[in-house]
């Protein structure tokens, strides 16, 4: 029998690797650039990526279940559009929030139902969802719509002072609450464990008498909800609604989750991994902007290389770890 002390690290190794990478990247920045190692730079990582943290949390559910959700970026865009258009039409803020969250969750529910009931690949269904959500943006307005509502602007610009003069926004609080909730649901509830079971072996999960259909559909509802919530956060961040917001953000979310150690095949991974993955991506962007002479496209190349490295690392670590059951 493997001793406890030997086993636990192997399970957490991918996440640990991501954490080390984050520390290293941040360390390099701190050594090379003045002012990099400040609390505010760390706080900014959270402020600038709050929406991505929320997206990654939702995406983690979907990927753990063995699926994928390509629609998240478009749902973010749709949410900014509904927010902006709703506020422009004079809707009260709470109504706008409820409407946005409802639209996102419903889209997720519909996609989940189609995937589950008709046995169509998640890839293609969420691709359709991606087109639909972005198309709906343009049905509302082809132009960018700016948000002028004062309540909304107040929330967006409000800052919370932390000890040491570091400030964060409400976005950060919401994002962290989402991560905590996701942690609870995934690890402490039957639903969460069923998501893992479905990702590990769906047929087995079904024969074990678990409610696999609820888990399979549920992950897309959660991802849809997270996408629309991320859309609200993005509206706060951008203060506008636009059909071309968040283009390609689904790739960032997937990249963050994968870099965070979650297996795309499903069944293995952690929410916190996704969070650290987002921080790694954010740190790279910050590094490149501190560097000054490197152009922005280097970010893409570096993310691509990181993806590659992490996939290779996962392959080696996972090889032979699970004896095949099928």
């Amino acid at each position: 029998m493997t001793a406890l002390a030997q086993r636990v690290p192997s399970r957490f190794l991918p996440v640990l690797a991501t954490v080390i990478l984050f520390v290293l990247a941040f360390g390099v920045g701190s050594v090379r650039y003045d002012g990099f190692a400040s609390g505010q730079v760390i706080a900014n990582l959270f402020i600038d990526n709050a929406f991505l943290i929320v997206l990654a949390a939702g995406m983690t559910f979907v990927i753990l279940s063995g699926g994928i959700d390509l629609s998240v970026g478009s749902v973010v865009a749709l949410s900014t559009m509904v927010t902006a258009a709703g506020l422009r039409a004079g809707w009260p803020v709470p109504l706008v929030i409820i409407a946005v969250l409802l639209i996102g969750s419903t889209l997720g529910l519909l996609m989940g139902l189609v995937i589950h009931k008709f046995d169509i690949q998640p890839f293609i269904v969420t691709l359709a969802g991606m087109f639909l959500a972005r198309g709906l943006c343009f049905l509302i307005s082809v132009e960018s719509v700016s948000i002028k509502d004062t309540t909304f602007r107040d929330v967006a610009t409000a800052v919370i002072e932390l000890p040491g003069g570091v400030t964060i926004t409400y976005n950060v609080i919401i994002a962290l609450l989402v991560v905590l909730a996701a942690l609870y649901v995934l690890h402490r509830t039957r639903f969460g464990r069923t998501v893992y079971a479905v990702g590990g072996n769906e047929q087995s999960a079904l024969l074990m008498g678990l409610k696999t259909s609820r888990a399979k559909v549920g992950v897309y509802v959660i991802s849809g909800f997270c996408s629309s919530l991320a859309g609200l956060l993005f509206s706060l961040y951008m203060l506008s609604g636009y059909g071309l917001h968040a283009v390609g953000m689904e790739l960032d979310a997937i990249a963050a989750v994968v870099i965070g150690g979650t297996l795309l095949a499903g069944g293995v991974g952690y929410v916190l991994g996704g969070l650290v993955g987002v921080l790694v991506l954010g740190t790279i962007q910050t590094l490149i902007s501190f560097q000054g002479t490197l152009s922005s496209w280097w970010t893409k190349i570096v993310i691509g290389v990181l993806l590659l490295v992490f996939i290779a690392v996962q392959r080696t670590m996972m090889r032979g770890r699970f004896r095949s059951l099928a």
């Binding site: 406890l4 402490r188 039957r190 464990r193 893992y196 079971a197 024969l207 069944g267 059951l325």
Partner: protein, 509 residues
């Protein structure tokens, strides 16, 4: 002994049809508390379908299922479990990525404040495991344990609920003798506690060892229900195959032994692979049937895979016609005239969504490369020849292999290799899970091929079969080649060598 009690399960007049197939027709079945009840029948007799009807995977088209006196109609395995019917399948149906405790208790886990109470869950899992005498850490990942232990975990899961009926669908097919004994010990404990156990196995020895009563199915209909003590093997087999025993006797006759004196065709010198099979020497002569005997996990398949280059050897060398052959993979083996029919027909053998024709010519076409296609005419000739020779049904070359029965799939796989006219044909469990008629045909084919000069390496879990048709028997134990016997060796000799005095491995560590 249980006749006075009323049955815990009674299924009456169950019928179920799938598109094109009547899987069950008017089948009655009863199961008493405190008995081990064996469900017998050939492949395709309807055993699995009956079990799945009982456990809520399928719903019958007509008939009723009565559980402890009340009519039930389960629409999911979950409902059946809640009613006290638990199932352990042949392939372990658990999740390797979850912990042992979760695998045992997920779905009825102890809760605290709305969430899962993990300490309590581990404690309960440990209790259940110790009830069946398995001592492993409930917090470890299931995937870290060998298949046999995973199977016991599956049983632990089955008995955590108030389990009145335990269904074991071919639980022994991947266990070695020691593990089977452990499983039977646990089954007896549960039986004595009053659990009704429904047991399916292809191994007659095991059925007679453990079962109190048996129900025999054939082609989806009920043939009979007996106390195990009342029916002997020949009678049972006659009921299962539903014809006179001529087929079985034909097998006996077909097995004419002969001392092969052809030239040595394939020679392994110290060939081995770490963790799979220890280095071994082996000569195979043209026209000779070499049988591999050993328990599951003794390295039978591993040895065969090395000869075929399916896995890379890390020691030793292979000579063909006395010249060293560097095996870079199956392709170089095929080029040297070696063919390998895998034990895993569906996973490693056939291409299910392609036609009989495509499957038949696949190996030959692959050897030619995609730039030199076989002409339609050549293909048709080959297909016609082998479909007739092996009696493959349906004889429609465009039928998808997925739709064929196990026996016919096996024949297609065999035909694929015969098309390449191999000099050495490695057959790994060619008769497993197929009906007796097809089995006799395949055994006959083996002896015919050998008589024509093909060397054959024959692997089977059924020792009797190996002893019967092999000219020479190679015995494996614990991944070592331990002996070579000539064809006159008796079953007892082989069994003694395999048992070999060493204590069977303990199941749980």
């Amino acid at each position: 002994m249980t006749e006075s009690l009323s049955p815990v399960v009674e299924m009456r007049g169950i019928s179920l049809a799938f598109p094109g197939v009547k899987a069950l027709q008017d089948v009655d079945f009863r199961l008493f508390p405190g008995e081990v009840h064996a469900l017998m029948g050939e492949n395709g007799a309807g055993k699995s379908t009956l079990i799945k009807t009982l456990t809520g995977v399928h719903r019958p088209d007509s008939g009723q299922v009565v559980l402890a006196g009340t009519d039930v109609a389960f629409s999911s395995p979950g409902q059946a479990q809640e009613a006290g019917i638990s199932t352990v399948y042949q392939e372990v149906n658990l999740c390797a990525n979850l912990t042992v405790a979760e695998n045992i208790l997920l779905g009825r886990e102890p809760r605290k404040l709305g969430g899962i109470d993990f300490p309590a869950m581990r404690k309960r899992a440990a209790e259940v495991l110790s009830r069946i005498g398995v001592h492993i850490d409930p917090a470890s990942s299931l995937g870290e344990h060998p298949i046999a232990v995973q199977q016991l975990v599956a049983i632990a899961r089955a008995i955590t609920i108030d389990c009145r009926v335990l269904v074991l669908d071919e639980p022994t097919s991947s266990l070695d003798a020691g593990e089977v004994a452990e499983l039977f010990r646990i089954m007896r404990v549960l039986r004595d506690e009053g659990v009704a156990i429904l047991f399916v196995s292809h191994f007659l020895d095991q059925v007679y060892e453990i079962s109190d009563r048996m129900t025999v199915l054939r082609n989806g209909t009920l043939v009979g229900e007996h106390l195990s003590a009342d029916v002997d093997r020949r009678a049972l087999i006659a009921q299962m195959i539903g014809r006179d025993l001529g087929a079985l006797e034909a097998i006996e006759e077909a097995a004419e032994k002969h001392q092969a004196d052809g030239p040595v065709l394939v020679q392994a010198e110290g060939l081995g692979r770490r963790g799979a099979i220890e280095p071994f020497d082996l000569d195979i002569r043209a026209g000779e049937v070499v049988g591999l005997a050993g328990l599951l996990g003794s390295g039978r398949t591993e040895l065969a895979r090395l000869l075929f280059g399916a896995d890379k050897a890390d020691s030793g060398r292979l000579l063909v016609d006395g010249k060293p052959l560097h095996l870079r993979g199956p392709r170089s083996a095929i080029a040297a005239g070696i063919a390998f029919s895998s034990e895993d027909r569906k996973g490693e053998g056939l291409v299910a969504d392609l036609s009989i024709r495509d499957n038949l010519v696949l190996a030959m076409q692959a050897a030619r490369g995609w730039t030199r296609p076989l002409s339609r005419r050549v293909k048709d000739e080959l297909v016609e020849k082998y479909v007739a020779a092996l009696d493959i049904r349906p004889a429609n070359p465009d039928a998808l292999v997925r739709t064929l029965s196990g026996g016919n799939q096996q024949k297609v796989l065999l035909a694929r290799w015969l098309v390449t006219e191999p000099r050495l044909l490695i057959l790994d469990e060619p008769t497993r899970g197929i009906d007796i008629g097809a089995k006799a045909q395949i055994q006959h084919l083996v002896t015919t091929l050998a008589a024509e000069g093909t060397a054959i390496l024959f692997i089977s879990a059924e020792l009797e079969e190996v002893v019967r048709i092999a000219d020479r028997i190679v015995v494996l134990r614990d991944r070592h080649k331990i002996a070579e016997l000539d064809g006159s060796a008796s079953l007892d000799e082989v069994v003694e060598l395999i048992a070999g005095g060493a204590a069977p491995e303990k199941v749980a560590s």
